[in-house]
């Protein structure tokens, strides 16, 4: 099973600033995903990050606000830009493995608070 490390584990940021979250996997994976989990809520998919191509964003999420990089098969970053208090959430990265890509492993998440 893949082991995923996320950095930072938590941060407190000022309104209007940006934060870049890193996701490192211990094996090469084709598909990586970024999710947002608001306090006490379920997970919402932000985008799918594929190596060698631009990320695919879900409805309600745009590249200018959440730029994603995927420089290789073991690493990705998500930037939360021009933050507001509404961006306070847990941000999670995950990878999909298995024949049908139906085994998903998650990092521990980044807890972001925006003041």
């Amino acid at each position: 099973s893949a082991v995923i490390s996320q950095k930072p584990s938590r941060d407190i940021c000022q309104r209007g600033t940006s934060l870049t979250i890193q996701c490192q996997v211990d094996s090469q994976v084709t598909m990586m995903f970024w999710y947002r989990q608001q306090p006490g809520q379920s997970l919402t998919l932000i985008a799918t990050a594929n190596q060698g191509s631009e990320a695919t964003y879900e409805s309600g999420f745009v590249i200018d606000k959440f730029p994603i990089s995927r420089p290789n098969l073991t690493f990705s970053t998500l930037t939360v830009s021009n933050m507001s208090p509404e961006d306070s959430s847990i941000y999670l990265c995950s990878v999909a493995e298995g024949m049908g890509r139906n085994i998903q492993y998650f990092g521990a998440g980044t807890r972001l608070s925006v003041l």
Partner: protein, 111 residues
């Protein structure tokens, strides 16, 4: 928009009791997963079901996928305090690897 509704939203029970969590949708899923998430951690996959009517057991946990592949249930027998957490179902549709997550069920098992 595909939605996965879970019920109940919250559940507080005594150790030793049984419980069932439901995951319902109007959409058909090619596979459905159940996860448990504990505070400060990411979700951990418990099971994947892919065939309509499929039943899988994981110790005291029994998972069922509906015949029409639109719904699923998780039954826990003789709950333990270690079962406390947020339970999430997630479905994938044919032709995509994206996961739609359910609304979540927060379970608290009291000693």
């Amino acid at each position: 928009t595909q939605l996965l509704e879970q019920s109940p939203q919250f559940l507080s029970i005594q150790e030793g009791e049984n419980l069932t969590v439901y995951c319902n949708s109007s959409s058909v899923f090619s596979s459905l997963q159940w996860y448990r998430q504990e505070p400060g951690e990411g979700p951990v996959l418990l099971v994947t079901v892919v065939t309509g009517g499929e039943v899988k057991k994981l110790k005291r946990l029994t998972f069922q996928f509906g015949d029409a592949r639109k719904d699923s249930s998780l039954h826990i027998t003789a709950a333990q305090t270690g079962d406390t957490g947020l339970y999430l179902c997630a479905g994938t549709t044919s032709g995509t690897y994206k996961y739609i997550f359910g609304t979540g069920t927060r379970l608290k098992v009291l000693a």
